[in-house]
């Protein structure tokens, strides 16, 4: 189901890129730009498969102690951080948070941030 939703998003985004969102008369998610480009895999691959990579990484990290920096969740959050008005990275409570931008649109609930901090460094509220 997750995969299906992701494919739908990819198709929609591709369509939006070629035809232009306005032509369709439907709203599209505005995905915030990351600080770097293609640091793990290319954008299309990441849109469709990021959840598989995260799932794989989490098991390796928790059980095997494998902590590659490049694919760590903290690295994703650092590179994809969206700064708020005060210059601090937004948490997932804000709809402009990178993960929420798409997940709200696709109505796919993520529970990563019930345990993980959604900002790159500990932001205490």
């Amino acid at each position: 189901m997750k995969r299906f939703a992701a494919i739908v998003i990819v198709l929609l985004t591709v369509a939006a890129g070629s035809a232009g969102a306005a032509d369709w008369g439907v709203p599209f998610p505005s995905v915030p730009k990351a600080a770097a480009e293609n640091c793990v895999r290319d954008t299309q691959f990441m849109r469709a498969n990021h959840m598989e990579l995260l799932l794989h990484q989490r098991d390796d990290t928790v059980h095997q102690g494998v902590r590659p920096k490049q694919t760590a969740l903290t690295e994703c959050l650092t590179c994809h951080a969206v700064k708020g008005g005060d210059g601090k990275p937004l948490t997932v409570k804000d709809p402009k948070h990178f993960c929420r931008a798409c997940h709200d649109y696709a109505a796919v609930t993520i529970d990563c941030f019930s345990c993980h901090n959604s900002a790159p460094e500990a932001v205490n509220k």
Binding site: Q64, L77, A122
Partner: protein
Amino acid sequence: MSLFDKVPACDSAPVEGRRGFLKGLVAAGALAIAPGVTLYKFAEAAGVSSAVRWGMLIDINKCEDGCSACVTACAEENGWRGHGNPRTDAQWIRKVTLTDKQTGFKKSLPVMCQHCAEPPCVYVCPTGASFKRADGIVLVDKHICIGCRYCMMACPYKARSFVHEDVDGQKPHAPRGKGTVESCTLCVHRVDEGRQPACVEACAKDGGHAFMFGDLNDPSSDISKQLAQYGATAIRGDLGVDPGVRYRGL
């Protein structure tokens, strides 16, 4: 489609009929073995191997009565804090005061997850969330913890806590959230970097230098030499759970 170079594809093709079903069984067996072999090789390459067993030696004669540097350091490092509710607040490490009823002699010592070689919390866990890493560190995989709290009941050391409240502002290296059980991780994120747990560092800096951390499997490590020379006690050693945390002067 295989997403990962190191992990073999596990897509199981649909099988039809009895012959197909039997073939499928054989194939499933081979698959079950193949990822196991891969994981084993991977573990070796990653460095978390059973050649190491992390442990701690705590000399309670050096542990001062009013000092709680280890507890403060742990809370700061891992981001757990109380909600003014001592019955349910998370507590990864605590100071326990023992009193000899005959003489009235009091002694204070830190107690945390004892990282048992035969951990009861792991044996009772219905989902496999409570597990022991190859290097002897006992952890909760919160991704699969359902919060049933069997492990809390099984633990003879009362080392585990259940998170009752929503958590905010976690440390990036210590995720924690409502509805899961947690305990001392032996600062696994530090150990994987070759550093010492926060409590050990804090005791050396602000306390009585009571902690010693090291590899119990390596006879040339400081902790093994100390244990071989002077010995130490396991709390509730009679249970046979073989704790990785040992106390001297108990």
